[in-house]
């Protein structure tokens, strides 16, 4: 049997190899999502109706419930496991939230409507919010969103549910493996996960040999710690603050 005919893996290792497959796991409780973008963000100390962990930090463009749901999805896509931390530990959702105020601002409505539609879909098809479902039912629901099967289920996805999944998938990858300057890849967990040795403006032959021998220690610095890299305007409203705070 040729390699390309092997079943698509749902392990994180397979996902990291292909940067395309969907991985799956589970997280925690959330109440129903408000459908408005005007709901002010709330800090993580606010109690919900469940005893489950909450979004770990304040978000500016996502509500608490939206952030918890998005973190639960991210935790399926790149779960923490025996190989190391995952998307939640990398603060991938923080990256997304910050970017929704800048480079990804065109996706803000898509996140609000998509997360609300996903919540409706889980409740109508599986009888509860995503984070209240069993691990298997969470996986099943995500598969249906990814394949577009949730589109016609009356949940009100704007466009295909697959488009929403693809958007979230791409942004979680960016938030996990992108430069920490943008708010994700916290403590360089994403770069460590894939063995990326870090940004180097010069690489010696000895460095290359050590890298190939897996002996090169990682150089944990953002690219923007070098003046010769231009800083992008992630959020024009964050006056006086460095990105990555």
């Amino acid at each position: 049997m040729s390699d390309e005919r092997k079943p698509r893996g749902v392990t994180r290792r397979d996902m990291l190899r292909s940067a395309g497959a969907a991985g799956v796991t589970a997280v925690v409780g959330v109440t129903s999502l408000p459908a408005t973008a005007e709901t002010p963000p709330v800090t993580a100390v606010e109690q919900t109706t469940t005893s489950a962990p909450m979004a770990r930090e304040a978000y500016e463009h996502l509500t608490v419930d939206e952030a918890v749901l998005l973190e639960a999805i991210a935790d399926h896509l790149i779960p923490a496991d025996e190989h190391g931390p995952g998307a939640v530990d990398a603060h991938a959702v923080r990256f997304i939230d910050r970017a929704l105020g800048g480079a990804l601002s065109n996706s803000l409505d898509a996140y609000h409507s998509g997360l609300a539609a996903f919540d409706r879909y889980c409740r109508s098809s599986r009888g509860g919010s995503f984070t209240s479902l069993s691990h298997t039912d969470q996986v099943s629901a995500l598969i249906d969103v990814e394949t577009g099967a949730a589109t016609g289920a009356g949940a009100g996805f704007v466009g295909s549910s697959a488009a929403f999944f693809g958007m979230v998938h791409d942004h979680v990858l960016q938030g996990t493996f992108g430069d920490p300057y943008y708010g994700g890849n916290a403590n360089f967990v994403g770069w460590d996960l894939i063995g990326y040795p870090g940004v180097r403006t010069a690489v010696t032959e000895n460095d290359q040999l050590r890298l190939e021998a897996n002996e090169l220690p990682p150089f944990r610095r953002s690219a923007y710690e070098w003046d010769n890299f231009e800083k992008a305007s992630v959020n024009a409203g964050r006056k006086g603050r460095r990105h990555g705070d």
Partner: protein, 196 residues
């Protein structure tokens, strides 16, 4: 119109296309034995429960079969929609390597790689459906258009010893010359547009 009659015309179309179970006369002519395929939760021409679709839990449905031909060594199951796909059919599920001792598939076969198949299906493999996934995904037709879903059971005169990841086309190529029995269950599913 009662639901079980509403889709009867679709079943008749399916039979006309030669997609339904073979008749006794056809068995004598082709040598392919007719397997009786049934389910405790659905019937040919009737609406599939939403539990087995993405409108519900999207579990794989339970199937049973009987009247396997003598000499059966292995069984396979394919679920296909001949009204979808480019070209048709769109494959929703494929399971092969099923022991000849099995008399059906239980509800809810695994969708994750770390979940084992039931003991009675030891050796069975879920191949690649139209989404290139090794598990069942149920009907999701466009709203307002009922579709037929052909759950076809195949019996072979030897173990085909197939590895993982096969498609329906791969299975058909492998079964060439070894098919000795075939049977089918054809329920219907229709989605309805959400109210305004």
């Amino acid at each position: 119109m009662p639901a079980n009659l509403r889709y009867m015309h679709l079943a008749l179309v399916g039979l006309g296309l030669g997609l339904g179970p073979t008749s006794t006369t056809a068995v004598a002519q082709s040598g392919i034995h007719t397997i009786v395929v049934e389910s405790p939760v659905m019937a040919s021409g009737e609406t599939m429960p939403r539990t087995y679709t993405p409108d519900g839990l999207n579990l794989s449905p339970p199937l049973t079969w009987r009247n396997l031909p003598a000499g059966t060594r292995e069984v396979a199951v394919v679920c296909a929609d001949f009204g979808a796909g480019n070209p048709p059919p769109w494959v929703h599920w494929i399971v092969y390597g099923i022991p000849a001792t099995a008399s059906g598939l239980p509800e809810g076969l695994p969708i994750m790689s770390d979940q084992a198949m039931p003991d009675e299906l030891a050796g069975a493999v879920q191949g690649h459906n139209g989404w290139q996934r090794p598990y069942y995904r149920g009907p999701a037709p466009p709203a307002g258009t009922p579709h037929l879903y052909h759950f076809t059971v195949y019996a072979f005169d030897q173990a085909l010893l197939l590895g993982p990841g096969l498609t329906r086309e791969d299975l058909f190529e492998a079964m060439d010359g070894h098919l000795i029995g075939r049977g089918e269950l054809v329920p219907v599913y229709e989605r309805f547009a959400a109210p305004e």
